[in-house]
């Protein structure tokens, strides 16, 4: 039963090898969906290309549903799957700073590696920026570690926080996503661009 690495069904080195294989699949899917192009990625913020929204939400929902069903079938123990902890202050401020970086640079870290892999020089420069940004955070850690560690809420699930079961929350998320996909198609027609 999964997760295989946590249950020691595979060795640490096999896990790292599979991380490489999973990464190949990740990079392949991102690139073939168009995530190697900053102009395609930025399109979501101007409405001319909504591929980010469509791929991102379809991906999150597919994985969420997969995990819920696998757990139901007893194929994976969700208690052993890593759930991101919630530090409210840094989740918001970190997200705000990342959002500013996204609209300015046109990439996020994963997509910049994807862009760099096919020769986008702007993506390579973005990666240099990432190294600088992470280094600044590390060098000045003592200045913002209070904010970094503030308002720790543990590892709450959004479904629990809203007082819903996982299944009901999942259904609502799917309906919200369908609404957004419909709006995305409308936006692509309204703000369409010829060639980019």
């Amino acid at each position: 039963m999964g997760p295989f690495a946590v249950n020691e069904l595979i060795s640490e080195n096999t896990n790292l090898f599979l991380a490489f294989i999973i990464g190949i699949a990740f990079g392949f899917v991102l690139e073939s969906s168009g995530f190697s192009s900053s102009r395609k990625l930025a399109g979501v913020f101007y409405g001319y290309d909504m591929v980010v929204l469509k791929v991102f939400f379809t991906g999150a929902i597919t994985a969420m549903l997969g995990l819920l069903f696998f757990s139901l079938f007893g194929w994976v123990d969700l208690d052993l799957v890593y759930v991101n902890p919630t530090y409210l202050t840094s989740a918001i401020t970190g997200g705000v700073i990342m959002g500013a970086g996204f609209i300015m640079g046109g990439y996020c870290p994963g997509t910049s590696f994807c862009g760099a892999s096919i020769g986008k020089i702007d993506a390579m420069v973005f990666i240099i920026g990432l190294f600088i940004g992470v280094s600044i955070f590390g060098a000045g850690y003592e200045w913002w570690d209070n904010m970094y560690l503030a308002q720790f809420l543990g590892t709450p699930k959004i479904s629990e926080s809203l007082g819903l079961t996982d299944g009901v929350f999942g259904l609502i998320l799917i309906l919200v996503a369908l609404g957004m996909f419909w709006a995305a198609d409308w936006a692509e027609k309204k703000f369409s661009r010829e060639e980019y």
Partner: protein, 178 residues
């Protein structure tokens, strides 16, 4: 000729919903096999920790940032899941780009801005994203996408903060994109 170019250009990318399902299956595989989601910025952190501790071994004690990393990662900082995954991303992206004929060394930008301006903005965006990813404990992949798949409250909050801010600032950066 333009119309034909457009059609060929469009058909070269995957249908976004198919791409999304495939992305979801990759993320599902990561969770079932390794008990964790996908990520990207963590690999950069590994690289920096490895470089700093090689140059200055005493930083393991003096830097809170490196100490925090060391609490959750023993052994060689480059021998981590995310480093191997991101090496894979470079290979996978390259294979897809090669198959689709998209391998080309270039600076991508709209015609009305210069390459230099695009590169300065890319550098600035990268610095902000790098800093924010550390504060937010992961980027669009590790915190937002992977967090959402496991219904993490923090993942949803970070996702809304990233996309909300980018939308809110889109007007001010419009001349660089449209």
């Amino acid at each position: 000729m333009n119309a034909q170019q457009n059609t060929t250009k469009k058909t070269r990318y995957l249908n976004p919903y198919l791409g999304g399902v495939l992305l979801g299956l990759v993320l599902l595989a990561a969770n079932v096999i390794s008990g964790r989601g996908l990520g990207a910025s963590g690999a950069i952190k590994s690289g920096i920790v490895a470089a700093v501790t090689t140059v200055n071994p005493s930083s393991v004690e003096s830097s809170g940032f490196i100490k925090e990393f060391r609490e959750s990662h023993t052994g060689n900082p480059m021998k981590t899941w995310l480093v191997f995954e991101m090496l894979g991303v470079l290979v996978g992206g390259f294979i897809s780009g090669a198959l689709a004929g998209r391998l080309k060394l270039k600076v991508e930008h709209i015609p009305s801005i210069t390459s230099n301006k695009r590169l300065i903005l890319a550098l600035g965006g990268g610095i902000l994203f790098g800093f924010g990813s550390q504060l937010g404990r992961g980027c669009t992949s590790g915190s937002a996408l992977s967090g959402m798949a496991v219904l993490s409250l923090g993942g949803f909050i970070t996702m809304m903060a990233i996309f909300g801010t980018a939308f809110a600032l889109a007007y001010f950066f419009r001349k660089n994109w449209i």
